[in-house]
């Protein structure tokens, strides 16, 4: 590991560790790793302040491949480990990398609690709708009826929608992207990193070994413009190869309309990331293929004090008020008396 104490402009390479990357050839994880290395230098952070925390799973190998600080923790607990990191050291820039099993199955509770506390973490959920590392069982995001090693007759579990859950858990930043559109991926990672508070990003990630083509509809050249819709703040929801389809509100629910024939852009739903109430984001998170194009991009991005910020303030305020406690005083507090 080269020692590098002078400040210099970092590049993607500076973030590559010396470890061989051990994902299956063709795995979508590679693309995410590559984009991560690209966007990190843009954040103007000292490398030594960056920390990746992960759980267990193929995706959770991520920290080993980054030449930053990192914890490859245990299954499902990354958000809790990361909360400890941030609480103790608010100055660190902390990423959490997790999978659909790690983050939503065993780790679902830590995930929602980190989110609701608004700990300043950027949580990347690599959703491949399968357990990769344990060789192919269905996950909480696997579609019903899916045949896997542990569901030979088809899964009977109704899947969770990661974004709905995150929104249900009071998320301040929610986004979705995927491993194929690397530009979108990079810009989403960057935006998520810049958000103060918990940013939750679902990344559609192809597991070409156990669940190949799971997101073909959303990532395939031919299909993606009809099956996804790119969210842009303040812009109407337009999609389709010809850019001639849009989403309009019908009461509280979305409907697909074709532009023209009396339907104008202004009739469409305009995206607003910043609206304080999450109902719009929630509604968008309910749009699924094949009924609807699936929104990619930033669903929601609002400001709210971070957990570690408030914790730190609490400490500083009390020091200001009471003075920095001295051991002598500490011991002498409570019921004391002197024996002569």
């Amino acid at each position: 590991m080269p020692v590098d104490v002078e400040l210099k402009e970092l590049t993607a390479k500076d973030f590559a560790s010396d470890q061989d990357v051990r994902w299956c050839p063709g795995c979508g994880d590679y693309s995410i790793l590559a984009q991560m290395k690209k966007i990190l230098p843009k954040l103007n952070l000292p490398k030594e302040n960056v920390l990746f925390v992960s759980g267990i799973g193929c995706s959770s190998r991520f920290p080993y491949y980054m030449d930053t600080y990192g914890i490859h923790s245990i299954h499902g607990r990354a958000p809790a480990v990361a909360t400890g990191v941030k609480a103790a050291r608010p100055d660190l820039h902390v990423w959490v990398v997790t999978g659909d099993g790690d983050g939503l199955s065993i780790g679902g509770n830590h995930l929602i609690h980190a989110i609701r506390r608004n700990v300043d973490l950027t949580i990347l959920l690599f959703n491949n709708r399968i357990y990769g590392l344990t060789k192919g069982q269905y996950s909480p995001t696997s579609e019903r009826g899916k045949r896997t090693k542990s569901s030979p007759a088809g899964s009977i579990d109704y899947p969770l929608q990661p974004l709905c859950l995150a929104i249900g858990a009071e998320a301040t930043f929610v986004a979705r992207t995927h491993d194929v559109n690397v530009k979108h991926l990079a810009s989403t990672l960057e935006r998520a990193a810049r958000h103060k508070g918990t940013s939750f990003v679902e990344i559609y990630q192809n597991c070409n070994i156990f669940n190949n083509h799971a997101f073909e509809y959303a990532t395939g050249k031919d299909t993606r413009s009809d099956s996804t819709i790119v969210l842009e703040h303040g812009r109407p929801l337009i999609f389709g190869k010809e850019g001639n389809k849009g989403i309009r509100l019908n009461g509280i629910n979305p409907e697909i309309v074709e532009l023209g024939n009396g339907v104008k852009e202004d009739d469409l739903l305009f995206h607003d990331e910043k609206t304080p109430e999450p109902t719009l984001a929630y509604m968008l998170s309910r749009m699924y293929h094949p009924e609807f194009p699936e929104p990619i991009g930033v669903y929601r991005s609002i400001e709210r004090p971070t957990y570690e910020g408030m914790l730190e303030d609490m400490v500083q305020n009390s020091i200001e008020q009471k003075g920095r406690g001295k051991l002598e005083d500490l011991l002498n507090s409570g019921d004391t008396w002197t024996v002569k």
Binding site: V3, Q19, L51, A80, L327, G334, T336
Partner: protein, 619 residues
């Protein structure tokens, strides 16, 4: 042990006694914990040695008057060194029938029984399961019963404060306290001061409480019923500044002290659980000592957050009780694998499963030692008294930091809630826990290089050039890279084990107390110390050749422990479990030690141990 002297006032005799045990018992709403604490403080300030034990009901607030709702507080004060709250009571205050029923068995024959007759209504008697009033049959014959209309007298005493009767009645604990003060010749000033401070903002309430206290005191003074007062002289205690601490308080103070001595943030991630919650409560009040508490969503998150905080360089600790320790097992393993310093406090309670949550037990020793997957060694320490919790908390952090390892500190419900006077240590005498975190020095950084102590460098995020990754998969010695190599695995398995064993060179040798030429050694650990040393002192006083050794370091054992054990013909191991330390001692040293086990959610009584010692000495 008592000498009667002439009374100074009225026709009251004063009896000087060596020590007194008083128990206040009443409904949860009757303020018994407060009365107990007041008597404790007053006695401590007076100069007695003290030891106390509160006894909470398991239910939050069981129906008033019910057996389940009885709350008790026992205080032992003495002119000599004492170690336990006392086996039996010299005086029992029973504020209602349920309190009488559940506590009478612990009052010695001829003991003082102070009864609030106003609460002995038909309804209350029925709730306590009395068919006839014990006041009206001869079931209380063998005690010195004082029937006092406490409710009525309290209301009377303070009615001019203008408070409603219900509010007045809330001061009846102070009436009872006053009476006890009179009976045992305790001064009222400390309590009066406390009342003023506490209720300063509501002068009428303050006044009502003061009046109740005084009324109780003067009731003793005036009433003909009381013909004897007892006095317990000041103890010959080491001079200095003392503080009353419970084990939980001492743990909190110790953790803060350790972090301060290391010049670090104390991060405490925990999930509430009886009887450990008070550590969290205490710590959350100490933010100005650079303490950050995190109430996690569960025990797993708590320990996981501690792993994260430890990696970043904080003094990180968590606290819990048995079921919580079980939940933390997997992540403690991560702590062991990542070789990070952290302290895990486990306040043992009655098990298995939810068990007896408010009761004490010592049945988590093997869980602490072995309750994780794989070979997962770590140091385990056990304080032997409430105040020892302070020293051992610092010791836990000292070892954790020096050896880069999680450390488990085992206390129990008895230590946690029991209080004793604590001679405040000189801050300068506390160890220096300052850490030099490594900095880049131009050489390749090896996060898993191990020094002569088998400890690895604690390189913390934010340090340029030392970027490295840790995790739960087996690590290559040196680089810390993921490594599946069979020989490296065996090497690391042994390294982790040797590291912990090596700490034996850095801890005090096992001490032995009691007779020099003893045949019988009583070996204990944790909170049983008070009862064991008391029983051994009694035995020695009787001329029995008995010694005792209280093990505070359970992993690793002190270097000389095997030699110590082999010196004695017989080894007795009293534990509040089915023989967990016993198993370790037998397997490690092949000594035919025998167990003496009590698993009732209650500490040993000195008597029980004395009987067992008699049996062993004879047999």
């Amino acid at each position: 042990m008592s000498t009667a002297t002439a009374s100074t006032d009225r026709n009251v005799n004063i009896e000087r006694v060596d020590n007194i045990t008083v128990r206040f018992a009443g409904d949860s709403g009757d303020g018994m914990q407060l009365a107990g604490t007041q008597l404790t403080n007053t006695s401590a300030i007076f100069g007695n040695d003290i030891s106390t034990l509160p006894d909470f009901p398991a239910e939050i607030r069981a129906p008033a008057g019910s057996l389940a709702g009885v709350s008790g507080y026992q205080i032992h004060f003495s002119k000599e060194r004492i170690h336990t709250p006392g086996d039996v009571c010299d005086a029992l205050v029973a504020m209602n029938p349920a309190a009488l029923k559940t506590n009478l068995a612990d009052l010695r024959k001829d003991g003082v029984l102070l009864i609030n007759i106003d609460a002995f209504t038909k309804g209350n008697l029925a709730k306590a399961g009395y068919e006839t009033s014990p006041l009206e049959d001869d079931s209380l014959q063998s005690y010195r019963v004082f029937e006092v209309a406490i409710d009525k007298l309290t209301s009377e005493a303070a009615k001019d404060t203008g408070l409603a009767n219900k509010a007045l009645l809330r001061t009846k604990n102070f009436f009872a306290l006053g009476l006890i003060y009179w009976l045992y010749g305790r001064p009222m000033d400390a309590s009066l001061e406390w009342i003023d401070k506490k209720f300063g903002k509501s002068p009428d309430v303050a006044s009502a409480n003061s009046k109740a206290l005084k009324a109780g005191f003067y009731y003793g003074e005036t009433t003909e019923a009381f013909t004897v007062r007892y006095e317990v002289d000041r103890a010959a205690i080491k001079p200095g500044r003392y503080r009353k601490v419970t084990g939980n308080e001492a743990v909190a103070l110790g953790l803060i002290a350790a972090a301060n001595l290391a010049d670090k943030t104390l991060f405490y991630g925990s999930y509430p659980i009886t009887p450990a919650s008070d550590i969290l409560h205490d710590l959350s009040r100490y933010t100005h000592y650079n303490v950050k508490t995190f109430q996690a969503e569960d025990e797993i998150a708590a320990i996981a957050s501690v792993v994260g905080a430890a990696y970043t360089g904080a003094c990180a600790a968590t606290g819990t009780s048995g079921p919580g320790l079980a939940l933390k097992a997997e992540a403690i393993g991560l702590g062991v694998m990542t070789e990070l310093p952290m302290v895990i406090v486990n306040v043992q309670r009655g098990g298995p499963s939810t068990g007896l949550p408010t009761k004490t037990e010592q049945a988590d020793l093997l869980q602490a030692l072995y309750g994780r997957n794989g070979e997962c060694p770590l140091p385990v320490l056990a304080p032997r008294s409430p105040s020892d919790c302070f020293a051992m908390s610092i010791e836990a952090f000292r070892i954790a930091i020096k050896y880069m390892t999680p450390v488990i500190l085992l206390t129990d419900g008895y230590l946690a809630n029991g209080a004793e006077p604590w001679l405040l240590p000189d801050v300068a005498s506390l160890p220096d826990l300052h850490v030099e975190h490594p900095k880049a020095n131009g050489e390749a950084f090896l996060p898993y290089s191990h020094d002569e102590r088998l400890s690895r460098p604690w390189a913390i995020p934010g340090t340029p050039g030392l970027e490295h990754r840790i995790g739960g998969i087996e690590k290559e010695d040196g680089t810390g890279n993921v490594c599946y190599d069979p020989d490296n695995h065996e090497h690391m398995i042994n390294l982790r084990e040797r590291k912990v064993q090596g700490i034996a060179d850095d801890i005090p040798l096992q001490e032995v107390e009691g007779a020099e030429d003893a045949d019988l050694l009583v070996v204990g650990w944790g909170s049983t110390y008070g009862a064991i040393i008391s029983a051994v002192e009694r035995a020695n006083a009787k001329g029995q050749k008995v010694a005792c050794a209280q093990i505070r370091y359970l992993s690793p054992f002190p270097r000389n422990l095997g030699d110590v054990l082999k010196k004695y013909k017989k080894v007795l191991v009293p534990e509040m479990n089915l023989g967990q330390l016993l198993m370790k001692l037998r397997s490690e040293y092949l000594v035919d030690a025998v167990g003496f086990n009590k698993v009732q959610g209650k500490p040993f009584q000195i008597n029980e141990l004395s009987d067992k010692i008699d049996e062993m000495v004879k047999g």
